[in-house]
Symmetry: C2
Subunit: 230 residues, 2 copies
Protein backbone atom coordinates (compact mmCIF):
# COMPACT_ATOMS: atom_id res chain seq x y z
CA UNK A 1 0.00 0.00 0.00
CA UNK A 2 1.49 3.36 -0.95
CA UNK A 3 1.66 6.21 1.52
CA UNK A 4 -0.97 8.09 -0.48
CA UNK A 5 -3.41 5.24 0.07
CA UNK A 6 -3.16 4.89 3.83
CA UNK A 7 -6.64 4.19 5.13
CA UNK A 8 -8.51 5.48 8.15
CA UNK A 9 -11.89 4.84 9.68
CA UNK A 10 -13.44 8.16 10.73
CA UNK A 11 -16.39 8.27 13.13
CA UNK A 12 -18.79 10.77 11.63
CA UNK A 13 -21.84 11.98 13.50
CA UNK A 14 -22.85 14.82 11.23
CA UNK A 15 -21.93 17.34 13.92
CA UNK A 16 -19.40 20.14 13.86
CA UNK A 17 -16.61 18.23 15.62
CA UNK A 18 -16.58 15.07 13.52
CA UNK A 19 -16.80 17.09 10.27
CA UNK A 20 -13.65 18.93 11.38
CA UNK A 21 -11.94 15.64 12.22
CA UNK A 22 -12.77 14.27 8.78
CA UNK A 23 -11.27 17.37 7.16
CA UNK A 24 -8.11 16.94 9.28
CA UNK A 25 -7.77 13.27 8.30
CA UNK A 26 -8.25 14.13 4.62
CA UNK A 27 -5.62 16.89 4.86
CA UNK A 28 -3.23 14.33 6.39
CA UNK A 29 -3.64 12.22 3.27
CA UNK A 30 -5.84 9.43 4.57
CA UNK A 31 -8.29 7.60 2.35
CA UNK A 32 -11.25 7.94 4.70
CA UNK A 33 -13.93 5.36 5.42
CA UNK A 34 -16.63 7.20 7.35
CA UNK A 35 -18.74 5.34 9.90
CA UNK A 36 -22.03 6.62 11.29
CA UNK A 37 -24.62 4.98 13.50
CA UNK A 38 -28.36 4.92 13.29
CA UNK A 39 -28.72 4.25 17.02
CA UNK A 40 -32.18 5.41 17.82
CA UNK A 41 -31.03 8.97 18.48
CA UNK A 42 -33.79 11.53 18.65
CA UNK A 43 -31.85 13.84 16.42
CA UNK A 44 -32.00 11.84 13.18
CA UNK A 45 -31.25 15.08 11.30
CA UNK A 46 -27.68 14.18 12.29
CA UNK A 47 -27.66 11.25 9.88
CA UNK A 48 -28.74 13.41 6.96
CA UNK A 49 -25.97 15.81 7.94
CA UNK A 50 -23.43 12.97 8.05
CA UNK A 51 -24.32 12.07 4.46
CA UNK A 52 -23.86 15.69 3.31
CA UNK A 53 -20.52 16.00 5.10
CA UNK A 54 -19.23 12.65 3.81
CA UNK A 55 -20.03 13.73 0.26
CA UNK A 56 -18.61 17.25 0.61
CA UNK A 57 -15.32 15.94 2.04
CA UNK A 58 -15.05 13.03 -0.47
CA UNK A 59 -14.78 9.89 1.59
CA UNK A 60 -14.03 6.53 -0.06
CA UNK A 61 -17.11 5.01 1.53
CA UNK A 62 -19.73 5.99 4.10
CA UNK A 63 -21.28 3.20 6.15
CA UNK A 64 -24.29 3.78 8.39
CA UNK A 65 -24.71 0.92 10.85
CA UNK A 66 -28.03 0.33 12.55
CA UNK A 67 -27.60 -0.20 16.25
CA UNK A 68 -30.48 -0.34 18.67
CA UNK A 69 -29.06 1.60 21.63
CA UNK A 70 -32.61 2.77 22.35
CA UNK A 71 -33.52 -0.71 23.56
CA UNK A 72 -30.79 -0.35 26.20
CA UNK A 73 -32.11 3.05 27.25
CA UNK A 74 -30.72 5.36 29.89
CA UNK A 75 -30.22 8.58 27.91
CA UNK A 76 -32.23 11.61 26.94
CA UNK A 77 -30.78 11.17 23.43
CA UNK A 78 -32.38 7.76 22.87
CA UNK A 79 -35.22 7.65 25.40
CA UNK A 80 -38.15 9.98 24.78
CA UNK A 81 -39.17 9.62 28.45
CA UNK A 82 -36.11 11.68 29.50
CA UNK A 83 -36.23 15.40 28.66
CA UNK A 84 -33.36 17.19 26.90
CA UNK A 85 -32.24 20.02 29.22
CA UNK A 86 -32.37 23.58 27.93
CA UNK A 87 -30.48 26.72 28.93
CA UNK A 88 -28.90 25.31 32.04
CA UNK A 89 -25.36 25.02 33.24
CA UNK A 90 -25.02 21.55 34.68
CA UNK A 91 -22.80 19.93 37.25
CA UNK A 92 -21.55 16.40 36.61
CA UNK A 93 -22.54 14.05 33.81
CA UNK A 94 -25.60 15.23 31.86
CA UNK A 95 -28.71 13.16 31.02
CA UNK A 96 -27.71 13.35 27.36
CA UNK A 97 -24.85 10.95 28.17
CA UNK A 98 -25.47 7.66 26.29
CA UNK A 99 -24.07 4.78 28.36
CA UNK A 100 -20.81 3.47 26.89
CA UNK A 101 -21.51 5.15 23.55
CA UNK A 102 -17.97 5.95 22.51
CA UNK A 103 -16.82 2.50 23.65
CA UNK A 104 -19.44 0.91 21.42
CA UNK A 105 -18.69 3.21 18.48
CA UNK A 106 -14.92 2.72 18.72
CA UNK A 107 -15.37 -1.07 18.98
CA UNK A 108 -17.31 -1.20 15.76
CA UNK A 109 -14.84 1.18 14.10
CA UNK A 110 -12.06 -1.16 15.22
CA UNK A 111 -13.78 -4.19 13.69
CA UNK A 112 -14.22 -2.38 10.40
CA UNK A 113 -10.66 -1.01 10.49
CA UNK A 114 -9.30 -4.50 10.93
CA UNK A 115 -11.25 -5.76 7.92
CA UNK A 116 -10.17 -2.79 5.79
CA UNK A 117 -6.54 -2.95 6.84
CA UNK A 118 -6.77 0.56 8.32
CA UNK A 119 -4.57 1.16 11.35
CA UNK A 120 -5.97 4.61 12.21
CA UNK A 121 -9.31 5.46 13.75
CA UNK A 122 -10.32 9.11 14.06
CA UNK A 123 -12.82 10.33 16.62
CA UNK A 124 -14.00 13.87 17.38
CA UNK A 125 -13.95 13.76 21.16
CA UNK A 126 -13.01 16.87 23.01
CA UNK A 127 -11.96 17.17 26.63
CA UNK A 128 -12.27 20.96 26.90
CA UNK A 129 -15.93 21.35 26.04
CA UNK A 130 -16.69 17.75 26.84
CA UNK A 131 -19.64 18.57 29.08
CA UNK A 132 -18.82 15.87 31.59
CA UNK A 133 -18.91 12.81 29.34
CA UNK A 134 -16.44 10.30 30.82
CA UNK A 135 -15.73 8.72 27.42
CA UNK A 136 -14.34 12.00 25.98
CA UNK A 137 -11.26 12.09 28.21
CA UNK A 138 -7.66 11.42 27.07
CA UNK A 139 -7.30 8.53 29.53
CA UNK A 140 -10.31 6.84 27.94
CA UNK A 141 -8.82 7.19 24.44
CA UNK A 142 -5.47 5.81 25.63
CA UNK A 143 -7.17 2.84 27.32
CA UNK A 144 -9.12 2.08 24.18
CA UNK A 145 -6.00 2.19 22.02
CA UNK A 146 -4.32 -0.26 24.37
CA UNK A 147 -7.36 -2.54 24.25
CA UNK A 148 -7.47 -2.37 20.44
CA UNK A 149 -3.97 -3.74 20.18
CA UNK A 150 -4.79 -6.64 22.51
CA UNK A 151 -8.16 -7.38 20.93
CA UNK A 152 -7.23 -7.88 17.33
CA UNK A 153 -5.39 -10.12 14.93
CA UNK A 154 -3.33 -7.17 13.66
CA UNK A 155 -2.39 -6.18 17.19
CA UNK A 156 -1.26 -9.72 18.00
CA UNK A 157 0.76 -9.75 14.80
CA UNK A 158 2.62 -6.65 15.96
CA UNK A 159 0.96 -3.85 13.99
CA UNK A 160 -0.26 -0.87 16.00
CA UNK A 161 -3.71 0.67 15.90
CA UNK A 162 -3.82 4.37 16.65
CA UNK A 163 -6.91 6.13 17.97
CA UNK A 164 -6.53 9.71 16.80
CA UNK A 165 -8.48 12.39 18.65
CA UNK A 166 -7.06 15.59 17.13
CA UNK A 167 -9.64 17.86 18.81
CA UNK A 168 -9.08 16.56 22.30
CA UNK A 169 -7.29 19.65 23.63
CA UNK A 170 -8.99 22.27 21.47
CA UNK A 171 -11.67 24.75 22.47
CA UNK A 172 -14.80 24.95 20.34
CA UNK A 173 -13.50 28.20 18.87
CA UNK A 174 -10.19 26.56 17.90
CA UNK A 175 -12.06 23.67 16.30
CA UNK A 176 -14.16 26.09 14.25
CA UNK A 177 -11.14 28.12 13.15
CA UNK A 178 -9.28 24.94 12.15
CA UNK A 179 -12.21 23.57 10.16
CA UNK A 180 -12.83 26.92 8.50
CA UNK A 181 -9.18 27.00 7.32
CA UNK A 182 -9.65 23.47 5.93
CA UNK A 183 -12.75 24.54 4.02
CA UNK A 184 -15.40 22.78 6.12
CA UNK A 185 -18.86 24.11 5.33
CA UNK A 186 -20.44 24.11 8.78
CA UNK A 187 -23.87 24.89 7.35
CA UNK A 188 -23.94 21.17 6.38
CA UNK A 189 -23.52 20.05 9.99
CA UNK A 190 -26.06 19.59 12.77
CA UNK A 191 -25.09 19.73 16.46
CA UNK A 192 -28.51 20.21 18.03
CA UNK A 193 -30.00 17.47 20.22
CA UNK A 194 -33.46 18.29 18.95
CA UNK A 195 -33.03 19.58 15.39
CA UNK A 196 -36.09 19.49 13.18
CA UNK A 197 -36.30 17.42 10.01
CA UNK A 198 -34.82 20.24 7.93
CA UNK A 199 -31.80 20.23 10.26
CA UNK A 200 -32.80 23.54 11.85
CA UNK A 201 -31.46 23.73 15.42
CA UNK A 202 -33.42 24.53 18.58
CA UNK A 203 -30.83 27.12 19.66
CA UNK A 204 -31.26 26.44 23.36
CA UNK A 205 -29.95 22.95 24.23
CA UNK A 206 -26.43 22.48 25.64
CA UNK A 207 -25.07 21.53 22.26
CA UNK A 208 -26.54 24.64 20.57
CA UNK A 209 -25.20 26.87 23.34
CA UNK A 210 -21.68 25.50 22.93
CA UNK A 211 -21.89 25.87 19.17
CA UNK A 212 -23.12 29.45 19.24
CA UNK A 213 -20.54 30.47 21.81
CA UNK A 214 -17.86 28.75 19.71
CA UNK A 215 -18.61 30.69 16.54
CA UNK A 216 -18.75 33.92 18.52
CA UNK A 217 -15.41 33.23 20.22
CA UNK A 218 -13.82 32.16 16.91
CA UNK A 219 -14.93 35.36 15.21
CA UNK A 220 -16.48 33.28 12.43
CA UNK A 221 -19.98 33.94 11.09
CA UNK A 222 -22.33 31.22 12.34
CA UNK A 223 -24.17 29.66 9.35
CA UNK A 224 -26.49 27.61 11.57
CA UNK A 225 -30.26 27.81 11.26
CA UNK A 226 -31.57 28.36 14.81
CA UNK A 227 -35.28 28.35 15.66
CA UNK A 228 -34.58 30.41 18.74
CA UNK A 229 -31.61 32.30 20.18
CA UNK A 230 -33.27 33.56 23.32
Amino acid sequence: MSHAEKKAVVLLSGGLDSATVLAIARRQGYACHALSFDYGQRHSAELAASRRVAQALTVVEHKILKLDLGSIGGSALTDSAIAVPENQEQAGIPVTYVPARNTVFLSLALGWAEVLGAMDIFIGVNAVDYSGYPDCRPEFIQAFEKLANLATRKGVEGERFRVQAPLIDMTKAEIIRTGTELGVDYSLTVSCYQADEQGCACGVCDSCRLRRQGFRAAGVADPTCYRSTK
Copy 2:
Protein backbone atom coordinates in the same frame (compact mmCIF):
# COMPACT_ATOMS: atom_id res chain seq x y z
CA MET B 1 -30.09 -3.03 46.74
CA SER B 2 -29.90 -6.16 48.87
CA HIS B 3 -27.16 -8.71 48.34
CA ALA B 4 -29.72 -11.19 47.02
CA GLU B 5 -30.63 -8.76 44.27
CA LYS B 6 -27.17 -8.04 42.90
CA LYS B 7 -27.46 -7.84 39.15
CA ALA B 8 -25.24 -9.10 36.38
CA VAL B 9 -25.25 -8.87 32.61
CA VAL B 10 -24.35 -12.26 31.14
CA LEU B 11 -23.29 -12.58 27.51
CA LEU B 12 -25.17 -15.61 26.21
CA SER B 13 -24.44 -17.10 22.82
CA GLY B 14 -26.42 -20.31 23.16
CA GLY B 15 -23.21 -22.34 23.15
CA LEU B 16 -21.80 -24.64 25.80
CA ASP B 17 -19.44 -22.12 27.40
CA SER B 18 -21.87 -19.25 27.93
CA ALA B 19 -24.56 -21.62 29.27
CA THR B 20 -22.04 -22.77 31.87
CA VAL B 21 -21.17 -19.17 32.74
CA LEU B 22 -24.84 -18.34 33.22
CA ALA B 23 -25.22 -21.31 35.58
CA ILE B 24 -22.15 -20.13 37.54
CA ALA B 25 -23.52 -16.58 37.84
CA ARG B 26 -26.91 -17.90 38.98
CA ARG B 27 -25.23 -20.12 41.58
CA GLN B 28 -23.33 -17.07 42.86
CA GLY B 29 -26.67 -15.41 43.52
CA TYR B 30 -26.80 -12.89 40.67
CA ALA B 31 -30.06 -11.74 39.16
CA CYS B 32 -29.01 -12.32 35.55
CA HIS B 33 -29.83 -10.18 32.54
CA ALA B 34 -28.83 -12.22 29.51
CA LEU B 35 -27.63 -10.47 26.36
CA SER B 36 -27.43 -12.12 22.96
CA PHE B 37 -26.68 -10.70 19.52
CA ASP B 38 -28.32 -11.30 16.21
CA TYR B 39 -25.19 -10.28 14.30
CA GLY B 40 -25.60 -11.92 10.95
CA GLN B 41 -23.97 -15.14 12.12
CA ARG B 42 -24.45 -18.11 9.81
CA HIS B 43 -25.37 -20.30 12.74
CA SER B 44 -28.70 -18.71 13.70
CA ALA B 45 -29.56 -21.97 15.50
CA GLU B 46 -27.44 -20.37 18.24
CA LEU B 47 -30.10 -17.76 18.91
CA ALA B 48 -32.81 -20.38 19.36
CA ALA B 49 -30.44 -22.16 21.74
CA SER B 50 -29.83 -18.93 23.69
CA ARG B 51 -33.59 -18.60 24.25
CA ARG B 52 -33.85 -22.19 25.53
CA VAL B 53 -30.87 -21.74 27.86
CA ALA B 54 -32.11 -18.38 29.20
CA GLN B 55 -35.46 -19.97 30.03
CA ALA B 56 -34.01 -23.13 31.57
CA LEU B 57 -31.66 -21.14 33.83
CA THR B 58 -34.33 -18.53 34.76
CA VAL B 59 -32.88 -15.17 33.84
CA VAL B 60 -34.64 -11.94 34.81
CA GLU B 61 -34.64 -10.78 31.21
CA HIS B 62 -33.17 -11.90 27.89
CA LYS B 63 -32.37 -9.20 25.35
CA ILE B 64 -31.40 -10.03 21.77
CA LEU B 65 -29.80 -7.03 20.08
CA LYS B 66 -29.62 -6.82 16.31
CA LEU B 67 -26.18 -5.82 15.14
CA ASP B 68 -25.12 -5.90 11.53
CA LEU B 69 -21.56 -7.24 11.81
CA GLY B 70 -22.09 -8.92 8.45
CA SER B 71 -21.93 -5.53 6.75
CA ILE B 72 -18.42 -5.12 8.18
CA GLY B 73 -17.42 -8.58 6.92
CA GLY B 74 -14.09 -10.31 7.36
CA SER B 75 -15.14 -13.58 8.98
CA ALA B 76 -16.30 -17.02 7.89
CA LEU B 77 -18.99 -16.71 10.57
CA THR B 78 -20.68 -13.71 8.98
CA ASP B 79 -19.50 -13.79 5.37
CA SER B 80 -20.82 -16.62 3.21
CA ALA B 81 -17.95 -16.03 0.75
CA ILE B 82 -15.46 -17.43 3.32
CA ALA B 83 -15.64 -21.20 3.94
CA VAL B 84 -15.82 -22.67 7.47
CA PRO B 85 -12.81 -25.00 7.85
CA GLU B 86 -13.44 -28.65 8.67
CA ASN B 87 -11.26 -31.27 10.32
CA GLN B 88 -8.09 -29.27 10.34
CA GLU B 89 -5.69 -28.26 13.03
CA GLN B 90 -4.85 -24.65 12.35
CA ALA B 91 -1.92 -22.44 13.13
CA GLY B 92 -2.62 -18.86 14.17
CA ILE B 93 -5.93 -17.04 14.17
CA PRO B 94 -8.67 -18.90 12.29
CA VAL B 95 -10.97 -17.49 9.59
CA THR B 96 -13.89 -17.90 12.00
CA TYR B 97 -12.46 -14.98 14.01
CA VAL B 98 -14.94 -12.08 13.86
CA PRO B 99 -13.01 -8.79 13.97
CA ALA B 100 -13.31 -7.14 17.39
CA ARG B 101 -16.33 -9.27 18.28
CA ASN B 102 -15.77 -9.56 22.01
CA THR B 103 -14.87 -5.87 22.21
CA VAL B 104 -18.18 -5.00 20.57
CA PHE B 105 -20.17 -7.45 22.69
CA LEU B 106 -18.58 -6.30 25.96
CA SER B 107 -19.14 -2.65 25.03
CA LEU B 108 -22.85 -3.18 24.57
CA ALA B 109 -22.99 -5.30 27.74
CA LEU B 110 -21.30 -2.40 29.54
CA GLY B 111 -23.86 0.10 28.28
CA TRP B 112 -26.72 -2.11 29.42
CA ALA B 113 -25.02 -2.84 32.76
CA GLU B 114 -24.68 0.86 33.42
CA VAL B 115 -28.38 1.45 32.74
CA LEU B 116 -29.40 -1.52 34.92
CA GLY B 117 -27.07 -0.63 37.77
CA ALA B 118 -25.23 -3.95 37.34
CA MET B 119 -21.52 -3.84 38.18
CA ASP B 120 -20.72 -7.37 36.94
CA ILE B 121 -20.46 -8.58 33.37
CA PHE B 122 -19.97 -12.29 32.73
CA ILE B 123 -18.40 -13.64 29.56
CA GLY B 124 -17.57 -17.21 28.58
CA VAL B 125 -14.15 -16.69 27.06
CA ASN B 126 -11.59 -19.38 27.52
CA ALA B 127 -7.85 -19.10 27.03
CA VAL B 128 -7.08 -22.83 27.05
CA ASP B 129 -9.22 -23.94 24.13
CA TYR B 130 -9.39 -20.45 22.72
CA SER B 131 -8.35 -21.50 19.23
CA GLY B 132 -6.21 -18.45 18.65
CA TYR B 133 -8.79 -15.70 19.13
CA PRO B 134 -6.92 -12.67 20.51
CA ASP B 135 -9.98 -11.38 22.36
CA CYS B 136 -10.21 -14.49 24.56
CA ARG B 137 -6.98 -13.82 26.47
CA PRO B 138 -6.74 -12.71 30.12
CA GLU B 139 -4.86 -9.54 29.15
CA PHE B 140 -7.73 -8.56 26.86
CA ILE B 141 -10.28 -9.04 29.67
CA GLN B 142 -8.15 -6.99 32.07
CA ALA B 143 -7.76 -4.19 29.52
CA PHE B 144 -11.50 -4.11 28.93
CA GLU B 145 -12.22 -3.93 32.66
CA LYS B 146 -9.85 -0.98 32.96
CA LEU B 147 -11.52 0.72 29.99
CA ALA B 148 -14.99 0.11 31.47
CA ASN B 149 -14.10 2.03 34.60
CA LEU B 150 -12.78 4.98 32.58
CA ALA B 151 -15.65 4.96 30.09
CA THR B 152 -18.65 5.22 32.35
CA ARG B 153 -20.48 7.47 34.74
CA LYS B 154 -20.37 4.78 37.45
CA GLY B 155 -16.63 4.34 36.98
CA VAL B 156 -16.04 8.09 37.29
CA GLU B 157 -18.18 8.12 40.42
CA GLY B 158 -15.89 5.50 41.98
CA GLU B 159 -17.83 2.28 41.58
CA ARG B 160 -15.99 -0.63 39.99
CA PHE B 161 -17.15 -2.72 37.06
CA ARG B 162 -15.90 -6.28 37.06
CA VAL B 163 -15.60 -8.38 33.91
CA GLN B 164 -15.91 -11.95 35.12
CA ALA B 165 -14.55 -14.71 32.92
CA PRO B 166 -14.83 -17.77 35.17
CA LEU B 167 -13.92 -20.24 32.40
CA ILE B 168 -10.75 -18.48 31.35
CA ASP B 169 -8.34 -21.05 32.77
CA MET B 170 -10.51 -24.15 32.39
CA THR B 171 -10.22 -26.93 29.82
CA LYS B 172 -13.34 -27.86 27.86
CA ALA B 173 -13.62 -31.00 30.00
CA GLU B 174 -13.50 -28.96 33.22
CA ILE B 175 -16.16 -26.61 31.86
CA ILE B 176 -18.43 -29.55 31.04
CA ARG B 177 -17.93 -31.15 34.44
CA THR B 178 -18.65 -27.82 36.18
CA GLY B 179 -21.81 -27.20 34.19
CA THR B 180 -23.00 -30.77 34.69
CA GLU B 181 -22.64 -30.37 38.46
CA LEU B 182 -24.68 -27.15 38.22
CA GLY B 183 -27.42 -28.91 36.31
CA VAL B 184 -26.83 -27.41 32.84
CA ASP B 185 -28.67 -29.37 30.17
CA TYR B 186 -26.15 -29.26 27.33
CA SER B 187 -28.64 -30.75 24.89
CA LEU B 188 -30.16 -27.23 24.82
CA THR B 189 -26.92 -25.67 23.61
CA VAL B 190 -25.45 -25.34 20.13
CA SER B 191 -21.71 -24.90 19.53
CA CYS B 192 -21.51 -25.77 15.84
CA TYR B 193 -20.53 -23.10 13.30
CA GLN B 194 -22.91 -24.64 10.76
CA ALA B 195 -25.76 -26.22 12.72
CA ASP B 196 -28.97 -26.90 10.83
CA GLU B 197 -32.27 -25.25 11.70
CA GLN B 198 -33.11 -27.97 14.21
CA GLY B 199 -29.82 -27.21 16.00
CA CYS B 200 -28.21 -30.43 14.80
CA ALA B 201 -24.42 -29.99 14.59
CA CYS B 202 -22.16 -30.76 11.62
CA GLY B 203 -19.77 -32.74 13.82
CA VAL B 204 -16.69 -31.74 11.85
CA CYS B 205 -15.97 -28.01 12.31
CA ASP B 206 -13.43 -26.79 14.88
CA SER B 207 -16.14 -26.02 17.38
CA CYS B 208 -17.70 -29.50 17.08
CA ARG B 209 -14.30 -31.15 17.42
CA LEU B 210 -13.54 -29.25 20.63
CA ARG B 211 -16.96 -30.07 22.02
CA ARG B 212 -16.79 -33.78 21.24
CA GLN B 213 -13.29 -34.06 22.66
CA GLY B 214 -14.43 -32.17 25.77
CA PHE B 215 -17.27 -34.54 26.59
CA ARG B 216 -14.98 -37.51 26.00
CA ALA B 217 -12.28 -36.09 28.27
CA ALA B 218 -14.85 -35.16 30.94
CA GLY B 219 -16.28 -38.67 30.97
CA VAL B 220 -19.75 -37.18 30.46
CA ALA B 221 -22.21 -38.55 27.90
CA ASP B 222 -22.44 -36.15 24.95
CA PRO B 223 -26.11 -35.27 24.33
CA THR B 224 -25.34 -33.40 21.09
CA CYS B 225 -27.05 -34.26 17.81
CA TYR B 226 -24.24 -34.59 15.24
CA ARG B 227 -24.91 -35.10 11.54
CA SER B 228 -21.48 -36.69 11.14
CA THR B 229 -18.72 -37.87 13.46
CA LYS B 230 -16.30 -39.02 10.77
